[in-house]
Every structure is written in structure tokens, then in C-alpha cells.
């Protein structure tokens, strides 16, 4: 069965500390992977996708096919990074909806 796991429901780190939000997936084939972010009471927005290999707001994510992981990382957390982060793998195309993980609430303490 296709599955995505974000093991941490809540992650609290101090400002300036490194951040890693974990995402593991269980999908057939070669899924495409996304991280979406939702700031407090705002809409979801794309943070990054693995095929673009970009760094957005200092965040990066490397697809590890051996470990079937797509962890999100940032070397130095900032207070404005506090938000809900959703990992969303997809093996479908077309009009398939995204399958989101349960999300990780990241809190950056001053």
C-alpha cells in the first residue's frame, strides 16, 4: 500500500539550530516528492519539489531512494520558519490529488 510517514507530530528547536523534518514513503515506482508549508492560518504553499533540486528559504530536501526518504533540512532555523510542514509523495499523474503526510508542526523558539 502507498504510504507516507512523518514521524514527528511536533518539532521544537531553538533559533539558529539545525532543523530536520523527516519523511518516509512507501510507493511503487518512482514517486515525485513535494514539501508543502502552511504558516499560521494561511494557505498551503509549495516549499520545494525534488525534481527541481532548488533551495527555498534555506530549506533543502534530498531524495534517498534506498531509504525511501525525503527529509527536509535547514542548517539554521529562523523564527519565521514556524509552521506546519507536509510531505507529499505522488506516483500518480494527471488530476490525482496529493497524498499528504500527517504533517509536522515546527516551532522555532527564540
Amino acid at each position: 500500500a502507498q504510504r507516507v510517514t512523518q514521524p514527528e507530530k511536533l518539532l521544537s528547536v531553538f533559533k539558529g539550530a539545525p532543523v530536520e523534518l523527516k519523511c518516509n514513503y512507501s510507493y511503487s515506482g518512482s514517486p515525485e516528492l513535494f514539501w508543502y508549508v502552511q504558516y499560521s492560518r494561511q494557505r498551503l504553499q509549495l516549499l520545494l519539489r525534488h525534481i527541481s533540486r532548488e533551495s527555498i528559504k534555506g530549506f533543502t530536501a534530498d531524495l534517498n531512494k534506498g531509504e525511501t526518504s525525503f527529509h527536509l533540512k535547514k542548517p539554521f532555523a529562523q523564527e519565521e520558519d514556524s509552521a506546519m510542514y507536509y510531505c507529499a509523495p505522488s506516483s500518480g499523474g494527471g488530476a490525482d490529488g496529493l497524498t499528504f503526510g500527517k504533517g509536522t508542526h515546527l516551532i522555532i523558539q527564540p
Binding site: L44, L46, G93, G94, D96, G97, T99, F100, H105
Partner: protein, 117 residues
């Protein structure tokens, strides 16, 4: 210049009522979606439409009926509202992926907070 808009932003209603949520996108996309975010912040796809045609219906009760009058609009009508329908409903849109591209980025609306009393 809002890309994906939803109305209303907040909706408080009594159990048993019928209500609608509207969604419009001005991005020229041909695919639109409805997601439900529950109180635990868990997001789940409900429906997707491509060129006004239903593509996905993810085991949603038939009290929920989406309607797409044109490619830029996807409305959600809910009959006989129940307490468990209380959630935030997000509309999203994307372009049908081109050749060699698995999936296009989805753009989300601001959400509609529905509270059923």
C-alpha cells in the same frame, strides 16, 4: 490578483443545513481539487476535476456534491451538514502535466473554515 480564491472564508451553521463553498482560480489551470483538513491538521483529497469532469472522488459521502460550471470554478455543495463535517476545506488548482512531467504544482486557496453546531 489572488490566484485561488474561496468564499466564504468562515461558515458557521446548524446541523442539517445545506451550504455551498465556492472556489475560483485565475491561473488558467484546467484541474481543480477539494481537500479537507480536520482538527488534527490532517489533509485529505476529496475530489479532483479536469476540464469540468470529475476525475477523483475519494470515498466522500454523497452529501458532498462538487460542481464545476467551467474550468475556472469548482464549487462544493454539502447537504444535511453533520458535526463531523466541521473542518477547513481547501480548494486547489494545477495545470494538467505536460509530456514528461509527472505532476504540476498545486496552488491552494486560503481555505474555508466550516463549523457545524
Amino acid at each position: 490578483d489572488t490566484a485561488v480564491s474561496q468564499t466564504p472564508k468562515y461558515l458557521v451553521t446548524q446541523m442539517g443545513n445545506d451550504k455551498s463553498i465556492k472556489c475560483e482560480q485565475n491561473l488558467g489551470h484546467d484541474t481543480m481539487y477539494w481537500y479537507k483538513q480536520d482538527s488534527k491538521k490532517f489533509l485529505k483529497i476529496m475530489f479532483s476535476y479536469n476540464n469540468k469532469e470529475l476525475i477523483i472522488n475519494e470515498t466522500v459521502p454523497n452529501r458532498f456534491s462538487p460542481k464545476s460550471p467551467d474550468k475556472a470554478h469548482l464549487n462544493l455543495h454539502i447537504n444535511s451538514l453533520e458535526l463531523g463535517d466541521s473542518a477547513v476545506y481547501f480548494c486547489a488548482s494545477s495545470q494538467w502535466p505536460g509530456q514528461g512531467v509527472m505532476r504540476e504544482t498545486q496552488y491552494f486557496g486560503p481555505g474555508t473554515r466550516l463549523l457545524v453546531l
